[in-house]
């Protein structure tokens, strides 16, 4: 008995060891060594999140190499990060440990990072070029009078609509919420729904509804979104009409539902425009989210990515030099980055105006919407506030009283904000 079992144990270990040996050999080469690090006095580490578009990683490495060519003392080690839902977790962990990057991207800019001293102020990086940047971006990145980040791309989100379907249903692109609800209802036929705002039927619409009633989420030191109870209450009508698409394969940030004809109107980003064009030709148009009523305003959410410098970096001066070179001065690179892989808007209006891809058709309309109607999330916004707000909106969509529900969520958000502001 012991003999046979000892053999089998050895067999088990042996198989494992073979695996180990094979894997160890395969892993022994490290392709990550940067050639440009040789001879440079300083090596900066720069983190990006994972962009989905092909060629993006090669592009940012190329930019870094070009910088080193112009500044042989400074090399840049580009680290390609995790997908967007995990990137922030990974970055936050790194910022608390000993292996933090010098420069990194932020999807949602968090004012608290600046207030807690994690970010370096960048006013001198902007210099005189500051006035050329999108005003909404600058407001977003300013905390207590200082700028803590620099936008690399603006992503504007707009309402896509199928021209032919609207015409067939006898409706025009909506300019008020009542028109939007009416159009969604009329466009709901057979298997197709009128409007797609997200698989959960909520998506970003609570923000858009609040803004479209002329209400901000945070006004100074106060959370005020409950003032938009009227507009957010509109979600109930959309859901009662059963005119919003729920549970599609892909979510609102992918144009799949719109391209497949599952919805006649979809809230989506400018990034989807090339794919929509490919699928539908010119049978589509874009408009902002309609004004709630005559006293509100049409709005569009402005997202995108921001780069910032870690305040504890040992090479703040070099990092600033690099960011200034890259995102303030190199207009060609900024255009390349904005439109050659994905489809985004360069944050400097002069650069955006020079971008040929953005000067015609629906893209041109979207850029105009970004400048005229763009609004960013408040920089004090947190995940807890978001979850609380969206949950309130989801309750309202199910039929809860809008005012009471929002006030409850608002008071919770207010205590979060108070804590944040110290």
């Amino acid at each position: 008995m012991p003999v046979s079992s000892a053999l089998s144990r050895r067999g088990f270990l042996g198989t494992s060891l073979l695996f180990v040996a094979g894997a160890a050999v395969a892993c022994s080469s490290n392709p990550q060594e940067t050639a440009s690090a040789k001879g440079a006095k300083v090596t900066l580490t720069q983190w990006y999140h994972q962009y989905g578009e092909e060629g993006t990683q090669a592009a940012v490495k190329r930019y870094a190499e070009e910088f080193t060519k112009a500044n042989p003392d400074i090399a840049v080690n580009v680290v390609w990060g995790a997908d967007v839902s995990q990137y922030e977790t990974k970055l936050n962990a790194a910022l608390l440990g000993a292996d933090a990057p010098d420069i990194f991207e932020l999807g949602d800019f968090r004012a608290e990072m600046a207030r807690k001293g994690q970010l370096e102020p960048l006013d001198d990086v902007y210099g005189a070029a500051k006035d050329g940047f999108n005003k909404a971006d600058l407001d977003y990145l300013t905390v207590d009078g200082k700028l803590y980040g620099i936008k690399t791309i603006d992503d504007v989100m707009v309402l896509y609509y199928r021209k032919s379907l609207l015409k067939k249903a006898g409706v025009t692109p909506p300019t008020t919420f009542a028109e939007l609800a009416d159009a969604a209802k009329k466009l709901t036929t057979g298997g197709a729904k009128g409007l797609f705002i997200g698989n959960d039927g909520i998506g970003d619409s609570p923000y858009l509804l609040a803004w479209s009633q002329g209400v901000d989420l945070i006004d100074g030191k106060r959370v005020v979104y409950a003032d938009a109870a009227k507009a957010i209450g509109g979600l109930r009508d959309l859901h009662a009409d059963k005119s919003v698409l729920l549970g599609f394969t892909t979510d609102w940030y992918d144009p799949g539902a719109f391209n497949q004809g599952a919805a006649a109107m979809q809230w989506c980003g400018l990034w989807a425009l090339p794919a929509v064009e490919k699928a539908l030709g010119d049978d589509f148009g874009v408009v902002p989210w309609p004004s709630y009523d005559a006293s509100g305003k049409a709005v569009a959410r402005l997202g995108g990515w921001t780069q910032a410098i870690h305040s504890k970096s040992k090479h703040v001066a070099e990092a600033k030099k690099y960011l200034e070179w890259l995102w303030v001065k190199q207009a060609d690179i900024q255009i390349d980055w904005a439109v050659k892989y994905g489809f985004h808007v360069p944050p400097q209006s002069e650069v955006a105006a020079k971008t040929p891809e953005l000067s015609k058709g629906a893209a041109k309309d979207a850029v105009a919407i970004a400048n005229k109607n763009g609004i960013s999330f408040p920089a004090e916004w947190t995940q807890a506030m978001q979850a609380e707000f969206i949950a309130a909106a989801a309750d309202i969509a199910k039929g809860a009283g809008a005012e009471k529900t929002l006030e409850k969520a608002q008071s919770k958000a207010q205590s979060d904000l108070d804590k944040q502001l110290g």
């Binding site: 008995m1 012991p2 046979s4 079992s5 000892a6 089998s8 144990r9 067999g11 088990f12 270990l13 198989t15 494992s16 695996f19 180990v20 894997a23 160890a24 395969a26 892993c27 490290n30 392709p31 990550q32 999140h49 994972q50 962009y51 989905g52 578009e53 092909e54 993006t56 990683q57 090669a58 680290v79 390609w80 995790a82 997908d83 967007v84 839902s85 995990q86 977790t89 990974k90 962990a93 790194a94 608390l96 440990g97 000993a98 292996d99 999807g107 992503d155 599609f248 394969t249 892909t250 940030y253 992918d254 799949g256 391209n259 497949q260 599952a262 980003g269 990034w271 989807a272 994905g342």
Partner: protein, 283 residues
């Protein structure tokens, strides 16, 4: 006699029913794999199409080859990293857990209950929240972007300790006592008698800890900052980027990521079967 015939007929019927039930259940369990493979061969419009298709329109391997072609996502390397991690951590963690499980079940010393609760306690405290301090501890020891940093914290598997303990509690005491009478020390009994007779359990828990190492996500995400130390799950999640979800590649990648585990199961199966043979010898 009549009775015996009935019983025989009953057992034939019974085993037919057993097979039927198992076949039905396995079909249900395998349906998601069919969906996975079907989608892995489709194109994006086919995956998101609103009408049902039994099969992809063409059987092209391009989704699979493009997984390995893309230099921006080190998919092949990430599979090797995961293999290395799982192949080291599964045997080591299983052995350590078996040792502790045996001691906790069979060696009565004062303070044993305290040791048991210390080990079970780590299961009760949700790991997600203590991840950050662990990350800082391992980071301060230089573990970021290293193999040991990826592997070491996963070697201590309290889950397996609990199961080994319960397994050894039911272990026939006579064999152990025979070893003791032969003059073996406690450690000798463990090494020469207990361990060889736990192959079934070791293979089962080894397989489970292999799976666990293979599927772990949050820890490798934080500690393996550089793409060269990505694991397969991190690489897969990179198909889920914000603006373009590459569905066919995601499904194809998932299918590829399951393959090594299938192979591992087949290897472990043999040992589970051997375990049966031995438990026959034991009595």
């Amino acid at each position: 006699m009549n009775n015996a015939v009935n019983r025989h007929r009953g057992s034939v019927l019974g085993s037919a029913a057993t097979y039927l039930a198992l076949c039905l259940m396995s079909v249900v369990f395998l349906i998601p794999f069919y969906m996975l493979l079907r989608n892995a061969f489709m194109t994006t419009p086919e995956v998101t199409a609103t009408d049902w298709h039994w099969l992809p329109s063409s059987l092209s391997w391009s989704n699979f080859t493009s997984l390995f072609d893309n230099p921006e996502r080190p998919f092949g390397r990430s599979i090797l990293n995961s293999l290395l991690i799982a192949v080291i951590s599964a045997p080591v963690s299983t052995l350590l857990a078996s040792m502790a499980g045996y001691a906790l079940a069979r060696i009565a010393v004062p303070g044993r209950a305290v040791v048991l609760s210390l080990i079970v306690g780590t299961l009760m405290i949700p790991q997600a929240v203590t991840f950050l301090p662990t990350f800082v501890v391992v980071g301060s020891m230089g573990g970021v972007n290293t193999m040991w940093g990826l592997i070491a914290p996963g070697l201590f598997n309290a889950f397996a300790v609990v199961l080994f303990r319960s397994f050894y509690l039911s272990f026939p005491a006579e064999i152990e006592e025979a070893g003791r009478i032969d003059g073996l020390s406690y450690l000798g009994v463990y090494g020469r008698i207990i361990l060889p007779n736990s192959v079934t359990m070791i293979a089962s828990l080894g397989a489970l800890s292999f799976i666990e190492a293979w599927n772990s996500f949050l820890w490798p995400l934080m500690i393996g900052q550089d793409p060269s130390s990505w694991t397969v799950q991190i690489a897969l999640s990179s198909f889920l980027t914000s603006q373009t979800v590459n569905l066919p590649e995601l499904f194809a990648g998932t299918a590829v990521a399951i393959l090594p585990l299938v192979v591992m199961f087949l290897v472990a199966q043999r040992h589970i079967v051997q375990g049966i043979a031995m438990s026959g010898l034991k009595s």
